[in-house]
Symmetry: C2
Subunit: 662 residues, 2 copies
């Protein structure tokens, strides 16, 4: 039936192609006229192409819905956590082309991020204890919001492995700040922001003594704790202010994912958790692993937090200081109705507030349901102190049945949920490898499912975390890709699958291999909300955002020596450096103050000194300060590392280090 | 005219679409039947889609020629130098999707490359002098060859900034070896291989004293030199053997790009050069920069090298040893006809041997021609010692007019040339921003040009460097992208443009933003030539390729202490580690021997210890040894960093460091 229908289709398009696509001569003629203007018309018919490349009708539709012609632009940006790469991947939708990798927690040498320039200072902000940390397990990117909508100004990301948060300015796509969490040993919930980005919230994953000091596992219940840090964001400065930030002590359950309330739930935050059993493993001694120990209880706990009230308590001096940070103890928050618990079925995962702010959706890794908690009901239960009991740490517990709107049968292992503009929710279902579509306004409606490839973890939709999701596109972030792409050895790429939400049913559009990481969460924002600069004001330090005090102006270049300290004031412009000869003595402390005198867009230079592990990127107007010890004598070329002109290879000089007299 | 024609076309397809694409109900019905099988037929007509997305007929053709449906595979791999990223980008053709980033010279934390595991040993091989070097300016990837054709076994890459070569095994896409060049201060020509990969050739860029010791620029002519290193490759071991490798001293010109002969020119190598003026700049003192000083001569020199004869001279003991490497001095090679020069017009660039091995094509950055040198004529001139003179270093010079097949008028600033299967050459023209197509068999034919966006540097074609190029696809590697993509701040992506070579004329197919680097050269190989493994033999050390002596077998896990040395024998399997509790004393030297017990494809785990800057990737069967000092006391979670199962988050444990008694 379908076969026959297909033939009919093919034959007809065949005819069309003679008329519409087929007239090669006309087009070739046009090309000849148009000299170097490139391909104009088509040279093959649709049927020829479908046959040659074995494309179905659905493939043709998907191709035409995702192809972005040369010179045209994508509709949306995706900001994807770079997972274990520690950096952010920026992707265009619908083409699913990677537009940029932003250096954040991990050195990135193209951008000169971590190779002798100003970026090193940001990376060093992120050191923990006496350790220089140069990677991250990035989990959750979160765009800054105004009134619960993405405003396109800033991006916040967290590092699960080393409990840190970074601030990226979307004016120049540069990481401006890394804030190490002094209390937590790891994080997972967040970075997520409150509706006007008053706070960037970071909640812990695996419990440890606050401040991470040593305590044996035998003292787990007494000394190990979770924590939620409320980082105060100063939008004018574009930086987090640790001094005015504060935290809340949490019980030693494994706090997991989290979300901030909005609209009706503004002022509240929600964190799911697992391992309320407080299992710690012991596999070498034959004790049960955490995976089985943590899966005993039928219910774990959703943490319900009144952060506006918590803020009042902090300002009222109810906090105690740990590792330099103000922390509200559990006894205070539990007594004041600031921290309340409610049951969550079977190894919960995901925690997503509905666009109207009236519900909180939580999945269950070993459950088949999505549970929708009722914000209004929970507020009333807390106000009227209607609890069914307290946990081992004295935190009041609401009755599950009193706190929920309802549950929806989803499938095996529902994880995360995002939303569209039509009242639909889309939940990732890991074990079943599907996206499940259901209505969060009327959760009786039967679920529609779309197969994804394979084992979906996170999921995202266009502006899906805001008070006004766009619908249109959804991306399934699949953890496994087995047979989807050309083989690249034992380490497989992840698979992002773009799904079309414009039709009555979900439709698969295109697969994108993720080549450099396992992204966790991502967000998708309308392209016109991002308005980056294309060049820096002359002499701008990319980290401070100000004109650098040692900015170099053309004609004022110099080499100045004071004792064994050498300051080089250098400029770069097509296609030479001034100075292009630097001679120092072995052991000198050298600082090169380097300004690009370029002003034209995309006129980037780079600068390296061979064998000195130094490389910076010099976008137009940018200033870098490069400091190092000349501890290796010899003759070292220095050159422009970015192809800048026809005579780019000639943009070079020599760095000479004269050996100490023996 | 075209508009009218287009309407006619649209109307017709409109009708088709009613018949062919339009029957949504039928398709939706199918979807309902097919439950979770995903989208089947199309739901919109071609004309609707073209209108909605403003696509031309040429766009439709390009879309259908580049779209790879979900689950289908690409036809070719591109191995692209990662430029200043120091790593290799692997891309699928025709989709132009990035499939993998291979960690090579720069730490890559997803792969655990440089974060405590076995990869650190490879990175440390690449240190130069007393400097730990952790980035590279990668220029030229070269696939291993058998009889002048890519064999898909190995990839070699160079580092211009730090004069190094790396060997990547395409069985697992892992870097196995980094070889630092002990003589050169930077390189550019190469890595390129001889027709049976007997040698991986690396030639210097900016001259310096061999061994890089200090010499003032006043002694440039006397003490600065170029060098060509012939790294002997042991295919059975899959490693370069430095002991049997050797080098040739070259004059202090700036040797640039290079290529090995093949077929008629097998046994020969060619290197272009610039700055035969030996300009060294001095911009701070108002002297001319290198860019102007190096552009004075009308002719620079192509270096013509008889490497088979050079090998004989080395074996005959004619080499002197510098920095531990055997080096043939100029006086020997000049006298023996092993090193000969011939003029090259105006700032030459590019050096590409024709598929038949009879010609060498060189461009000129300030010239408008491609010059084709005649291999046979040059052999005769050298055999008969017919020279027009000698350079300042006593190297014989052949007369330009006697050495060439001819020249072709190309355009402003021809750089690199690649080839197809029909006798055509394609030259990148930087200043003009075009690809110029011409016949290398009959170079009188008028040139066809295709505009590219913008400022093309390198260029590649399918199997374009072999004795049998495929034609079909070409990629313009453009250095600038100005208005091509959504803005991402002052640092723009590069732009790879895929061009269709199957028609009478070149046709632009699709733009690919390069998000993480400025690639230089790349190579494209037929997909079926690459046959990677999908899992490791149990307990395999990824660097040695052998089963690791300390490989861990299930049930044999242990923690062993000897004085302050602690050896942990750990296994990983869904979804727990054994042991999952490790307690050591502050200051202990810890080695974790960690084996994945998984065997299924794509069943990868990761392992990190929070705050210890440790992360490794554990593909099925892989073994890693992680060594560090427990120098920070405290409580640190350790966990699986790769989403491995529904209970992945529970795959964790604790690393406890007990503080020294104060």
């Amino acid at each position: 039936m379908r076969g026959h229908h297909f033939v009919g289709f093919a034959a007809l398009v065949g005819i069309v192609s003679m008329v519409g696509f087929g007239c090669e001569n006309k087009h070739l003629a046009k090309q000849n006229e148009a000299a170097t203007s490139g391909a104009l018309g088509a040279s093959a018919s649709i049927t020829e192409l479908m046959k040659a490349r074995n494309l179905t009708e659905a493939d043709v539709e998907a191709a035409l819905k995702t192809y972005v012609p040369t010179g045209k632009k994508d509709e949306y940006y995706i900001f994807a956590s770079g997972g274990q790469s520690g950096n952010v991947n920026v992707i265009g939708v619908p083409s699913m082309r990677m537009l940029k990798v932003i250096g954040v927690f991990t050195p990135e040498s193209w951008q000169g991020w971590g190779f002798g320039g100003e970026g090193d200072k940001v990376l060093d902000q992120g050191n923990q204890g006496n350790h220089k940390i140069r990677w991250a397990d990035m989990h959750h990117p979160n765009l800054s919001e105004t009134k619960g909508d993405y405003d396109g100004e800033f991006l916040f990301v967290n590092d699960k492995a080393n409990a840190r948060v970074a601030v990226i300015d979307l004016k120049d796509f540069v990481t401006k700040q890394i804030v190490p969490n002094p209390l937590a040993a790891s994080d997972h919930g967040g970075a997520f922001v409150t509706p006007n980005t008053e706070y960037v919230i970071e909640t812990s994953q695996y419990p440890a003594p606050l401040g991470r000091e040593y305590a044996p596992l035998s003292e787990y219940k007494e000394k190990y704790r979770g924590v939620a840090v409320f980082w105060k964001f100063d939008r004018a400065k574009g930086r987090i202010d640790p001094a005015t930030s504060w935290a809340m002590e949490l019980p030693p359950y494994t706090q997991d994912l989290a979300d901030a309330g909005k609209l009706d739930s503004d002022g509240w935050a929600y964190i799911n958790s697992f391992n309320t059993e407080m299992a710690v493993g012991g596999t070498l001694e034959g004790k049960p692993s955490v995976e089985s120990g943590a899966s005993q209880n039928d219910m774990d706990y959703l943490h319900v937090i009144n952060w506006k009230k918590a803020e009042e308590l902090v300002n009222a001096g109810k906090a105690t200081t740990i590792a330099g940070m103000r922390v509200l103890p559990i006894d205070v928050t539990a007594a004041e109705g600031v921290l309340t618990l409610v049951g969550e079925p079977k190894s919960p995962h995901g925690c997503d507030v509905t666009p109207d702010g009236k519900g909180v959706v939580v999945g269950g890794k070993l459950d088949t349901h999505a549970t929708i908690y009722d914000v209004a009901k929970m507020k009333t239960l807390i106000e009227t102190k209607k609890f069914e009991g307290k946990d081992a740490f004295g935190i009041p517990i609401m009755a599950f049945k009193d706190a929920i709107q309802g549950q929806v049968e989803i499938g095996l292992g529902p994880l995360h949920t995002v939303f569209d503009d039509k009242g639909n929710a889309y939940t990732s279902v890991f074990i079943e490898s599907v996206v499940a579509k259901w209505s969060w306004k009327n959760f009786q409606q039967p679920v529609e499912k779309l197969s994804v490839h394979y084992n979906i973890g996170h999921i995202l939709s266009a502006e899906g975390d805001t008070v006004s999701p766009d619908g249109k596109y959804l991306v399934a972030m699949n953890k496994m890709s087995m047979d989807r792409f050309l083989p690249v050895g034992p380490l497989y790429p992840q698979n992002f699958q773009l799904v079309d939400l414009t039709g009555e049913k979900m439709r698969m559009l295109i697969d994108m291999p993720m080549p450099n990481a396992e992204p966790h969460y991502s967000q998708m924002i309308k392209a016109d909300k991002i308005k980056p600069i294309t060049a820096y004001k002359p002499g701008t330090n990319p980290i401070t955002g100000e004109v650098d005090p040692s900015r170099v102006v053309g004609g004022k270049e110099a080499i100045k020596r004071e004792g064994n300290k050498v300051d080089v004031y250098m400029s770069a412009i097509r296609s030479h450096f001034t100075p292009d000869q630097i001679e120092v003595e072995e052991g000198d402390d050298v600082t090169i103050h380097l300004t690009s005198l370029e002003t034209a867009d995309d006129q980037t230079h780079g600068f390296t000194i061979d064998m000195y592990n130094v490389n910076v990127s010099l976008e137009p107007g940018k200033h870098e300060n490069i400091t190092f010890k000349a501890d290796m004598p010899g003759t070292f070329p220095m050159y422009c590392t970015e192809f800048c002109s026809a005579l780019h290879l000639e943009m070079m000089g020599y760095f000479l280090v004269k050996p100490k007299a023996k």
